[in-house]
Amino acid sequence: MPKWAMVIDLDKCTGCGDCMAACKLENNIAIVSPEEANVGRVMFWMDMITTYEGEYPNIKVKRIPKPCFHCDNPPCTRVCPVYATYKNDEGLVGQIYHRCIGCRYCMVACPYTAKVFNWYEPKWPDEFKSCLNPDVSLRMVGVVEKCSFCAHRLIKVKENADMEEREIYDGEYSPACGESCPTNAIYFGDIDNKESQVYKLSQSSRSYREMENLGTEPKVIYLSKRE
């Protein structure tokens, strides 16, 4: 079984936010009004953490793209009362929108604040309605959603590989954020495969994972010289 993982090279990342936009379009994420977004109900599966260090003339800005970390030992799946969030054999942490009862316990349990909730019925401007992605199911009001590592793309990739009777090659399956990144800072692949680029990068001395001390074993690995 492959184990899908993501590597984000923060030394290459310019913080442009293209990944966020690509993600939003790819996954039919609702467009939240600015007023709602200001009270903390903004919906991003791929979020961008922005921190400022130092005082005015010498400000250091850090921009870190943050998807769901698809932990190998996820705290969210353990607390779900109805099995609406689960980890599959390939290490993807999925969300079943039609089963979710909206208790938001998984959001509370996630140390990375990776999940978002549909506070109202999701809405799109009219122009968007004609270009919704048919591969991704639309969510309804009152359910939790989060980054799926574009699992719908994996289905297509698998079908193609099956048809051509071959294995999935490294880099064939990539989520929308990785594909759109202008500086190629996002890598994606099978971390159990010793030949894959993701595996090689994860062994780099620059690599780190968020809050490794919690034992959640996130499958998103950051590369950075700064830390």
């Binding site: 850090k62 099995y83 938001r104 359910v143």
Partner: protein
């Protein structure tokens, strides 16, 4: 005391009178409470219709008032059954006029508190998923099972000791005879029946104590089973139980004082009952402080970054007024008032009880919100301002409690009549005998 005595109530007139004589005040109270309830219900329907967006909750602070009130109400419900079971078990004779009220509080508040997680659901229509696809491994399901068990046990524990009183009402036969006849289960007060009933109550009171403790422990597990700083702590189980009994006693005292006044029960609820209960309240206050102190000291001494963030947020940040308010309400006021005989009057006890109930509610708020407002990733601080809907459902919950209690008092005696009679007839002898057995020398 009304002068026109139409019915002869006998010795315990004050206990029967509220059931047979209905004043204007009763109808006004019921109407007001019903109106509040309907208003809250209307706002809840808007929440179901529009989604949870009508509340003040948002992304880092995904749990708000509903979970706070859930923990708070369930905490209050520990007044009853636990206290009355402990008092019965320890053969405290002064329990007799108190137990019934305590048990009623439990049954009503537990039903209200138990429904709160449903208010919190984004999709209440999918509640039944819990039946078909529930995961018993989730702490939320532990709650569902333990609260159901506690509710069943406490309603049975309320009902069984009420059977002899129901039979008394049946034998008067002036009001709802069929109803009391149905509920009295053929009680005639024979020796065998008394034996059966006492045996059942004894088994139940032993069972109810662990169930009650498990309920609040399991509620604390909802928080402590996650990895969040400020929640992930082994002390949470006993801390919540102590807090629950603490707020429970305070609520019981408030109810006792109010109904003593309204129903003229001064003969039954004497100063001494309040003295004893308030001593218990003082002990719980000190115990609560001890737990709070150890909880925060371990956090500060260990000084993990995220843990310290949250503690600083509570001590000096946005939540400082709520945190210090909680310390004043739960520790400073009770200790000052209850330590001095001069202040320990009924009014003083009422002030302490109200302050403790408010303080314990603040404690639940201090546990739930600050941990969520400080996400571990470098995200901005969350801000939580509860909306009208959340306030309305909180007030509505309190109104339903008051309504339930008033309605109960209209149909059943609030003080156990047969236990008072038993106390008059037998306990004095019993206690004397018991006392002799404690003393050195031969029993006679």
């Amino acid at each position: 005391m009304p002068k026109n005595k139409q019915l002869d109530f006998g010795q315990d007139a004050a206990l029967y009178r509220p059931i047979y004589e209905t004043g204007k005040g009763f109808y006004i109270t019921v109407c007001v409470l019903l109106a509040v309830y309907l208003w809250a219900l209307y706002l809840y329907i808007t929440q179901v219709y529009y989604g949870l967006g009508v509340t003040g909750m948002n992304q880092p602070i995904t749990w708000g008032f509903y979970i706070v009130n859930f923990v708070f109400f369930i905490g209050i419900s520990h007044a009853g059954t636990l206290i009355s079971a402990i008092l019965r078990l320890s053969k405290a004779e002064w329990r007799r006029p108190i137990t019934r009220m305590a048990e009623v509080i439990t049954a009503i508040v537990l039903a209200i508190g138990g429904l709160h997680p449903i208010l919190d659901l984004g999709r209440p229509d999918r509640m039944l998923n819990l039946l078909s696809d529930g995961r018993l491994q989730s702490p939320l399901l532990w709650d569902v099972t333990s609260i159901t068990a506690y509710f069943t046990a406490s309603t049975i524990y309320l009902y069984l000791p009420m059977i002899p009183d129901i039979a008394k009402l049946r034998d008067r036969g002036t009001k709802l005879k069929w109803f009391y006849n149905f509920l009295s289960w053929g009680w005639q007060g024979t020796a065998h029946q008394v034996k059966v009933l006492n045996r059942a109550i004894n088994i139940l009171m032993v069972m109810v104590i662990p169930i009650a403790i498990s309920v609040h422990t399991v509620i604390s597990y909802i928080f402590s089973m996650t990895l969040q700083p400020g929640w992930h702590s082994t002390i949470f189980g006993p801390y919540f139980v102590v807090g629950a009994i603490f707020s429970g006693i305070a609520a019981l005292l408030i109810v006792m004082i109010v109904f003593r006044k309204v129903y003229h029960l001064e003969e039954y609820l004497k100063e001494i009952h309040f003295q004893y209960l308030s001593t218990l309240l003082l002990i719980m206050s000190l115990l609560w402080f001890y737990f709070t102190f150890s909880e925060f000291l371990t956090g500060i001494f260990g000084s993990q970054t995220h843990e310290l963030h949250i503690i600083a947020y509570k001590f000096t940040g946005v939540y400082a007024p709520f945190f210090w308010g909680m310390v004043i309400c739960n520790f400073v006021i009770p200790v000052i008032i209850l330590s001095f005989k001069k202040f320990k009057t009924i009014t003083g006890i009422m002030i302490v009880s109200i302050s403790v109930v408010i303080g314990m509610w603040l404690e639940r708020l201090n546990i739930v919100v600050p941990s969520l407002a400080n996400p571990r990733m470098d995200l901005p601080l969350g801000i939580y301002i509860p909306s009208l809907v959340e306030w309305a459902l909180f007030i509505g919950g309190i109104a339903v409690f008051m309504l339930g209690f008033t309605m109960f008092a209209k149909f059943f005696p609030l003080i156990s009549i047969w236990e008072i009679e038993e106390g008059r007839k037998e306990s004095i002898k019993d206690v004397e005998k018991r006392l002799r057995s404690y003393l050195p020398g031969k029993e006679t």
